[in-house]
Amino acid sequence: MLQDYLVPKTIDQALSHLQNNNGKARIIAGGTDLLLDLKEGKKEAGILVDITRIPGLKVITMENGVVRIGSAATHNQVAKSDIIREKALVLAQAARSVGSLQIRNSGTVVGNVLNAQPAADTAVALTALGAVAEILSPAKKEYLPVEELYAGLGKSTLDSTSQLLTMVQFPALLKNQGSAFERLEQRKALALPMLNVAVVVSLSGEQFEWARIVMAPVGTKPVRATESEAILKGARATSELIEKAAGAAIAQANPRDSALRGSREYRLEVLPVLVKRALESAVAQAKGNF
């Protein structure tokens, strides 16, 4: 039973609301996942602390080559941001894939991550970008990679009754880098991903300096295709090599048979195709920037 709905104006106020209520108060941002969980009894909250009116948390900035996204920034804000489209296209593409337009106008990217679904589109993209989250507790500030925010299926390591994630940050992509997002889905709108893949590549001339490849839902959280990444590292960016690396991704993928998302067999066949497409567009982007 909800006893209060608080709308703090500052981060300090939000944190003291949490602290003063000893686990009974919980952070709410867009609420598009939390409200359903509360209704279904999956989560509890005596008091909701709405962080969407805290000015600093709504902004997307770039400074000294670092992009920062506040935890109250919505999916649509991120999808339409010039900074994100220019410096992290993969994230703009992922943010645009979530839910419906209405959901994207309310739901936040950070909320998408903290809801901890294995295939949360923006979490997959942020993992590929090497994003790190800033987390405030009453006594300390810490930084955690986005992939370490997953404690298990639908469970975050962050405790929203005592901690506040203020922003995620990652290095803006450079001219010799590119990124891309690919998604397999039943429809082009309002559909959960059957598979999604995010890649970021860094080229030096014709060679891969490195690549980060992240795929989902093929485990309990976004999964790095490190074997594919190792194949690419330092090698010439040919279509044969990309094909080989894409094929290797299935070694680390463990999709389940799902009525909603398709059979394991089918998705293991399609996964390399998505990895290949994503790598090809990321490479084209990196080359095109020269």
């Binding site: 609420g31 649509n76 337009l101 209405q102 082009k188």
Partner: protein
């Protein structure tokens, strides 16, 4: 304390209403303010029937805690036209036969209005994206798409 006062601007008028903490905006609109044009379909943000415009953006009012609307500018289907002077979208939905049972129509029109408020020359993809969160089980969307582009043209000509 389970009741709070909500003040917001609803269809251009300052509105003050007592709401339960757990009320969603759609419940306040329909049950307390008796604006039943906004429909409640799925109640979980999947069908778009409850779409209203809040601070310029289309949102599902079933997923907006009422107290989130504090100080906000909210528009519902009741606020965009009058029976004797309909909004161009309302006219074009009728003219183009974009309505069958009508349940999705208020939400569909509010999504379309949120688009046209920002973009009076939408292409097909813009229109499809704008109404992609509104489910219609009667029309097949073709006439809806047409109605939105006709309304855009009408508004451009009226300017």
């Amino acid at each position: 304390m389970s009741v709070k006062t909500l003040s917001f601007i609803l269809n251009g008028e300052n509105t003050v209403v007592e709401v339960a903490l757990s009320d969603m905006l759609v419940d306040v609109l329909r049950e307390k303010l008796l604006l039943t044009g906004t429909k409640k379909g799925c109640g979980k943000g999947e069908c778009g029937a409850c779409t209203v415009i809040m601070n310029g953006e289309a949102v599902n009012s079933c997923m907006v805690p009422a107290l989130k609307a504090e100080g906000a500018i909210v528009e519902t289907i009741e606020g965009i036209g009058r029976p004797d002077k309909l909004h161009p979208l309302q006219e074009s939905f009728m003219d183009q036969g974009a309505i069958q049972c009508g349940f999705c129509t208020p939400g569909m029109i509010m999504s379309a209005k949120a688009l046209l408020d920002k973009n009076l020359t939408p292409n097909r993809e813009d229109i499809r994206e704008a109404v992609s969160g509104n489910i219609c089980r009667c029309t097949g969307y073709v006439k809806i798409e047409k109605a939105v582009s006709v309304a855009a043209k009408q508004i451009r000509e009226n300017q």
